[in-house]
Each structure stands twice: as structure tokens, then as C-alpha cells.
């Protein structure tokens, strides 16, 4: 019903989409996979009307369709759930759901709130969630926000008589396993009324939910498969051009940790977030923390990173008792934090690669108190080569890099600063398979060098695969410990039991 025919789009002369054709049929879920930079998001934005193609055409039921902005797409029943959390946190749930579509509730120019709230409640009921429509979006969990976004996309049903096309741009990237299941259930239930385009990095998810899968590579569609006719590893090979090996998490390179305890937390608590958490990390050890959203694992990592001072218990770094009041204290103790919000907390996007690499510690490039720009450049070039950062040069602004390369810059910064403790907060979020693999390799290398690593991750496999030990948290408390030596990894099921 919605067809894209030979779409071309370039940015500042660089082609992002080259002659891309896809077709979305009624009542089906179309998967869209590809590495970062393959053009998935651009294609989605063209379909959603926020980007205008340079060439090619969109057809709706065979008729040409011109979308000048998001509102045009909405008028045709095309809605989008964005990769970035796109609710406005200062507005209520109902306001978010009907943002941009308030006209229907206007009476003499005045918004009829009662009607809007009732309508919003109806929308949420459709997908079977119960959220107070007057609550501010900032008070909701990530998962709930995702549901609200889905509900928002579904409002088009009321204004458009034709079946909807809902574009889901990496909706699962911030969700825990349980929430993903809920989302998929909703999508399946809604299939009778709408078509979906589903974009994700996680091949298993795409295969699970989709009927058909398009694979994109370098701005082109390189393959189209029925989901039941292809396996994950095959898809992976098409996507990255190499096979998905069993040694994905580089288990063969997992070495036993050393003896010295680097991080030693005893009964640390932060009221309302976590309590009585004991945690030890040895040199060269990767400690994973598993837990659902709200289990307190994020907050524990934030506490050790210096963002959220613990209010009781003791924290020792290399045997020395510390109490961090700011990340700066933590950095001074050799702790490096690799955040999930790379674009916000990871890098100063407008600064260059070189400047970001030396941000935490300028001492390597300063001589007599003055920054030597030549040294800085050489240092950055060195990292670019060693970590295979794909960039024209060290003076390029970080915002122009892909996610994987940005993550490498963050890691390069902490290695420059000589950090011996790394906190990896969802280190592979938003990265494609190939980039993930490179990050895993780096993490193994660092671990082999004796760096103590604290890891929280999107998926259990990743947590288990990478870690030496896994600690499970629930409701702010530690509920279980598992050893995860190479070749004898714990079972996911056991972990999940401790999580919920």
C-alpha cells in the first residue's frame, strides 16, 4: 500500500540513500535492518515526511504522494515512533499524545481538556496500558514512555480513514526484555489494523516480529527475505558481509581476573534508589550488573561514577576510602564513565575528535602549562589508527562520526587519561553489529590489561557473554551473584529468576 520507488537522498553531496525501493503491504510488519549509516533512519524520515527525497517517488495505493513535512504524512496515516525518546517531558501524557493534533478538541479556539483526556485514555486502552493521562511524561519510565509514543502514533486511526503505517525506529533500544515482549504483543495485536515498519539492530527481534525483512547496506537495499525463510546468522552475514561467529563476545579471550581488588563498595545506599549494595571488582575483571529498569543498577553505576553520591556505606578505590561528590572526584581516582547517552554525556559533539580525546586529561599534551596542538593532533592520529576510528582527520567534529566511532573516541579518552576503572553504561546501545564487535574486542583488551570494568547492558546475553561475574539487582537490592568464567557461563533463565 505504501511504496517507495527509487528514493535518492544526499546530505551536503554525500549520498545517504541510493535508489531505494521498498514496499509496505497491508497488515504486515516489515523489518528493516542494516549497519549504522546504512540509511535506515534516513529512509524512515523520508517515509515520515521529515526529509524530502532528492529523487524517486512515494506512492500510496499507487498514487504519487508528496510529503512536505510530518503533518502531511500524518494526514495520510503515516505515523512514526522515534529512535530518540521523543516525548516532551514537560507536557502531560495526553498533551503528548495529541501534540500537533489539538484541532479536534478545539471549541471556539479553546482546548477541551476533558475530551482530550478521554480520547487519550481511549488510545492507551487500545494498546492495553493504564497510565494516568494527566501525569507529566517526565514521571514515566522509559517503557511507559515508549507505550505513550505508540499510542500517539495510533491516534492517526481517528483522523485517517485508511489503514495506518506505523514506523518504529529502534523502539526496543531502551527497553528491558519484559517490556519488549509487551511491545511485540501490542504490535501483533494491532497488525489487523495497521502495517508496521520495524527498525532495530537486534536481528533476533527483527526476525521475531517481522513478516518480511529488508536489509540495507551503504544506502541501498541489498536483500529482501521472508522472515521465516532466513536465520539470524545468515542475515548478519548479508548485513555486515561477514559471519556471526560463536565467539561473538570473544570468550576465548576472557582471562581470569587478577587478585587485587580495585573497587570495593560495602553496604552503599542511596535513599530511594538502592540500599546495602556490596560490590567488588578486581583488576582485569568485568563485573556485569543485571536487572530490570528501576532495579537500581543504573543508580549504582552512577554512584560509582560520582554522579550520585552514596549516602551511607563505604566505597574504597584501591583500598582508599572515598566519597565522590562529583564525577570529577571519580575521574581523579582513575574512573572513566562511558555513558549510554553518548551524544549528551559521552562527547562534546561540537568539539573535534582530538579535543574530545584529551578532554579528561590534558597533561599528555601540555608543555609548561600550554596545550601543544601538534602533540594533541599526533596523539589523536595515533588513537584513530589504533582503534580504527573512521574519520577524515582528528580535527573533525565528533557529531559527524557514526555511533561506533563516537564510542571509540570515548574509550580513547579514558585510555588517554589512564583510567584503570571503567564504567560501561550500555556501551553498545545504538551500535550496529560490526561496531559492537569492535567494542567487545576493545573491552577484552582493556580487561586483559588489568582494567577493572563495571558493565550494565541492554541484553542479558551481552552481560553474560562479556562478564567474569554477574550481579543481579531487584528493587534497589542485590539478589544474586553468578560466576561467569569462560566456557561455563550461567543460564539466562537463572538470572531472570533473580531479576523479577
Amino acid at each position: 500500500m505504501l511504496t517507495a520507488n527509487g528514493i535518492c537522498k544526499s546530505f551536503a553531496g554525500v549520498p545517504a540513500l541510493k535508489n531505494v525501493s521498498v514496499e509496505i503491504r497491508p497488515n504486515e510488519v516489515v523489518g528493516l535492518i542494516g549497519e549504522n549509516g546504512a540509511g535506515k533512519s534516513t529512509l524512515m524520515r523520508v517515509l515520515a515526511g521529515t526529509h524530502q527525497p532528492d529523487g524517486g517517488a512515494l506512492l500510496l495505493d499507487g498514487k504519487p504522494l508528496r510529503l512536505r513535512h510530518a503533518a502531511d504524512a500524518a494526514a495520510q496515516g503515516i505515523g512514526m515512533v522515534f529512535q530518540e525518546q521523543s516525548l516532551l517531558l514537560n507536557l502531560s501524557v495526553a498533551e503528548n499524545i495529541y501534540l500537533g493534533q489539538e484541532d479536534q478538541f478545539l471549541r471556539f479556539g479553546i482546548v477541551n481538556w476533558k475530551a482530550m483526556h478521554a480520547a487519550a485514555r481511549r488510545q492507551l486502552a487500545k494498546i492495553g496500558v493504564d497510565i494516568d493521562v494527566r501525569a507529566r511524561a517526565s514521571e514515566l519510565t522509559f517503557a511507559a514512555r515508549q507505550m505513550v509514543e505508540l499510542a500517539k502514533a495510533l491516534t492517526l486511526e481517528e483522523t485517517v480513514s485508511r489503514p495506518l503505517v506505523i514506523l518504529l525506529d529502534e523502539p526496543t533500544s531502551v527497553l528491558g526484555a519484559g517490556d519488549i515482549k509487551v511491545l511485540f504483543d501490542r504490535v501483533r495485536a494491532l497488525k489487523s489494523r495497521a502495517s508496521f515498519v520495524f527498525v532495530s539492530h537486534r536481528l533476533d527481534e527483527v526476525l521475531e516480529i517481522s513478516d518480511r525483512v529488508y536489509t540495507m547496506k551503504d544506502g541501498e537495499v541489498v536483500a529482501e527475505h521472508r522472515a521465516d525463510a532466513i536465520t539470524g546468522p545468515e542475515l548478519h552475514e548479508i548485513m555486515v558481509g561477514r559471519g556471526l561467529q560463536a565467539s561473538y563476545y570473544k570468550e576465548d579471550r576472557q582471562h581470569p581476573p587478577r587478585d587485587d581488588i580495585i573497587v570495593d563498595a560495602r553496604k552503599i545506599s542511596h535513599a530511594g534508589h538502592f540500599s546495602q549494595v556490596d560490590l567488588q571488582i578486581r583488576a582485569g575483571e568485568i563485573l556485569g550488573i543485571a536487572g530490570v529498569v528501576g532495579s537500581g543498577r543504573e543508580e549504582v553505576t552512577r554512584a560509582i561514577g560520582g554522579f550520585l553520591p552514596h549516602d551511607s556505606g563505604t566505597l574504597s578505590i584501591r583500598g582508599e576510602r572515598v566519597r565522590f561528590r562529583s564525577p570529577q572526584d571519580a575521574v581523579r581516582r582513575g574512573i572513566g564513565y562511558v555513558p549510554r547517552e553518548r551524544r549528551v554525556e559521552g562527547l562534546v559533539m561540537f568539539l573535534s575528535i582530538a579535543e574530545n580525546i584529551t578532554l579528561a586529561d590534558l597533561s599528555a599534551v601540555t608543555r609548561r602549562g600550554a596545550i601543544s596542538h601538534g602533540r594533541e593532533r599526533r596523539l589523536a592520529l595515533d588513537w584513530i589508527r589504533r582503534l580504527r576510528i573512521k574519520a577524515p582527520g582528528p580535527e573533525i567534529a565528533c557529531r559527524k562520526l557514526s555511533g561506533g566511532n563516537q564510542q571509540k573516541v570515548v574509550l580513547a579518552r579514558w585510555m588517554t587519561a589512564g583510567s584503570r576503572i571503567l564504567i560501561l553504561d550500555h556501551p553498545t546501545r545504538g551500535l550496529d553489529v560490526g561496531a559492537k564487535e569492535e567494542v567487545y574486542e576493545l573491552v577484552r583488551e582493556l580487561s586483559g590489561d588489568g582494567v577493572a570494568i563495571l558493565l550494565i547492558s541492554d541484553t542479558l546475553e551481552e552481560t553474560i557473554g562479556l562478564s567474569h561475574r554477574v550481579m543481579v539487582m531487584r528493587d534497589g537490592e542485590v539478589t544474586a551473584h553468578f560466576d561467569a568464567p569462560a566456557g561455563a557461563k550461567p543460564d539466562q533463565v537463572d538470572l531472570v529468576r533473580a531479576m523479577v
Binding site: Q328, L359, A360
Partner: protein
């Protein structure tokens, strides 16, 4: 006008950096051809001398704007330092200079502390500290202008002189400007300022002492405001609690016309120097061309908007607010 194409044409970095100086050159040549007598050595020297105080003030604010804040207290601090200089010169002679400048630094630090410790937005924090400082200046001057008598002018006279063919005020501005340029380019403080302005959360996570950097920025701003006040006091041979009034907006305008983003993280002292020159050329040019006195403000406002529209580097500003 399609600014998207314009923008992509300007996406090359050096083109963007070259726009403000180019605008400056066009202005000079334009006014020079409209008003013969403008392009003389004397007039251009006068232009430089007239720009000096504005530039010193603007250079200080530049640092604060780069870290993403704003300092509205500079005119009060400049006035206070002029009062301190005028009060103290007869008593302690040349030592009055460091005393006046130190007072500026102290109040700059105070603004910074109010801003970072009490988390009051800098716009309001400095508005308020500016009020406090203005009150102190009134009190210190006992509510009147204080003349620096002939005995005191022995110590302040050198500022009105010339050195190597250039007025001393121009040298002062140039030295301060060069020093700040080096500080911004070669010290960790300068780097941290840019990082904080361009992405404060990332700067925090990288372990940068954001509070200290901001306080230093405010201290520099206060110190430079005080130096501007001292120069003013020396030029006018007196101090007054209202001496630097009306200098705040031109100073901020100079920073932004130069192409420094009001949101922080982008720009620098060099740009501010160009911006300050543009502001004073426009002002002086209006006198030279003989713009209707009633229309001066209108022309100034329009030129301001146009200058910003031309000089601002839109490719490096995420959201135009």
C-alpha cells in the same frame, strides 16, 4: 531567501571565520567612500582608541558567554572600579590600580559563586549582583562623581598618552586581547570553557571541574570590567557610580556581532575584537555620514540584526532559540 543553500555554501569552516572580518572591511570601505576624511590615519587611530574600552568589557563577557552564561554585572563593576580608583589614587597612588582591579575580580568570583553554588541562572544572578555592586558603588562614592585631582593624575596620566605611535589604551586592549586569546587557545581553562559551553553534561562526565571553570570565567569578566572601569576613570580623570552605564548592551552586542554564539561553546576573543570594531565603526560612521540623529538608534538596531544574520555560524548551533 533560501538560507539552507546559503548555509551549505558557508559550510566550509574558513569561510565562516572570514565573514566578520570581511564585513568589517566592507564597512570601513563603505563609510570611507561615503565620507571622505574617514579613511585617514588619525580617524582610524581614533577608531581604535574609542573601541578599546568596549573591547575590554566585551572580551571579559566573551569568556562567560563561551561557557554558556551571561554577565550583566559588568557595567556596575566597571563603575565601581572607577570609584575605587578615584578614591584611592590620592592616598595610595599607583597601588590603587591593583586594588580597583582586585575588587572587580572579587565581585566576578561572587557572581560566579552565586551562579554555580546557588544554581541561580547567570542572567538573573549577575543582574542581581550588578544591583548589589551598583549600590556599593553609590555608597563608596557617597553618591557623587569623584574627580581625580591633579596630584592623582600623575598616576593615571600615562593611560591617556601614546606609545610607539599608538594610544596607550589601544596597547592595553591589544595586550589583554592577546593574553586572553592565548589563554583560550593554550590553557586547559580555555579548552574546558569551550567544552562546557558546547556540551556541559559531557564536560561534567569527563571530570572537568565545571564549577571552577565557570567561576574563573566570571572572575576574568569581573577583572576585565574593572580594568575597563580603570581606563575609563583615567580617561575621564574621575570615577562615578554611573560611569560605565549604557556600556553593557554594546559590549554584549560586540561579542555576538563577532559571531560568538550566545548559547556558548563557539567563538572567541578574535571574533569579539572584530565585533567591537564593527560596533564602533557603525557608531562612528553614523556621525561621519551624518545620519539623522533621530534615526541613529533605528540604523544601529537594523545593522545589529543584519550583522548577526551575516556573521553567525548556523552550522554549529543546534537550535536557534
Amino acid at each position: 531567501m533560501d538560507f539552507r543553500t546559503l548555509r551549505s555554501a558557508f559550510s566550509l569552516g574558513w569561510v565562516n571565520a572570514a565573514i566578520p572580518p570581511a564585513l568589517l572591511l566592507i564597512l570601513i570601505l563603505g563609510i570611507g567612500s561615503a565620507a571622505p576624511g574617514f579613511l585617514t590615519q588619525e580617524t582610524l587611530l581614533l577608531l581604535l582608541a574609542n573601541t578599546a574600552v568596549l573591547f575590554i568589557l566585551a572580551a571579559g563577557v566573551t569568556g562567560v558567554i563561551l561557557v554558556g552564561g551571561i554577565d550583566l554585572s559588568i557595567q556596575a563593576i566597571a563603575s565601581l572600579s572607577s570609584v575605587i580608583l578615584a578614591q584611592l589614587v590620592p592616598q595610595i597612588g599607583i597601588m590603587a590600580f591593583p586594588a580597583a582591579i582586585l575588587a572587580g575580580v572579587v565581585f566576578g568570583v561572587l557572581s560566579g559563586l552565586v551562579h554555580v553554588r546557588l544554581k541561580v541562572p547567570s542572567f538573573v544572578a549577575t543582574l542581581a549582583t550588578g544591583g548589589v555592586v551598583a549600590g556599593i558603588a553609590l555608597w563608596a562614592a557617597d553618591g557623587r562623581a569623584i574627580t581625580i585631582e591633579a596630584s592623582g593624575r600623575v598616576f593615571t596620566g600615562w593611560i591617556n598618552g601614546s606609545f610607539a605611535g599608538l594610544p596607550v589604551v589601544v596597547w592595553i586592549a591589544a595586550v589583554l586581547g592577546a593574553a586572553l586569546y592565548l589563554v583560550m587557545r593554550y590553557t586547559p581553562f580555555g579548552r574546558y570553557s569551550l567544552a562546557i559551553g558546547a556540551g556541559e553534561p559531557a564536560a561534567i562526565a569527563a571530570g572537568i571541574n565545571v564549577d571552577r571553570t565557570k567561576i574563573i570565567a566570571f572572575a576574568i569578566s569581573g577583572g576585565l570590567a574593572a580594568i575597563a572601569g580603570v581606563v575609563l576613570a583615567a580617561r575621564l580623570s574621575s570615577g562615578s557610580p554611573t560611569l560605565a552605564n549604557q556600556l553593557l548592551l554594546p559590549a554584549i552586542a560586540a561579542v555576538i556581532v563577532g559571531g560568538t554564539a550566545i548559547t556558548g561553546g563557539l567563538g572567541g576573543i578574535g571574533r569579539t575584537a572584530v565585533g567591537a570594531l564593527i560596533i564602533s565603526i557603525v557608531r562612528m560612521g553614523m556621525t561621519f555620514i551624518g545620519v539623522n540623529i533621530f534615526a541613529e538608534n533605528v540604523v544601529f538596531g537594523a545593522v545589529l540584526i543584519l550583522a548577526v544574520a551575516i556573521t553567525i555560524d548556523r552550522s554549529k548551533i543546534a537550535v536557534i532559540k
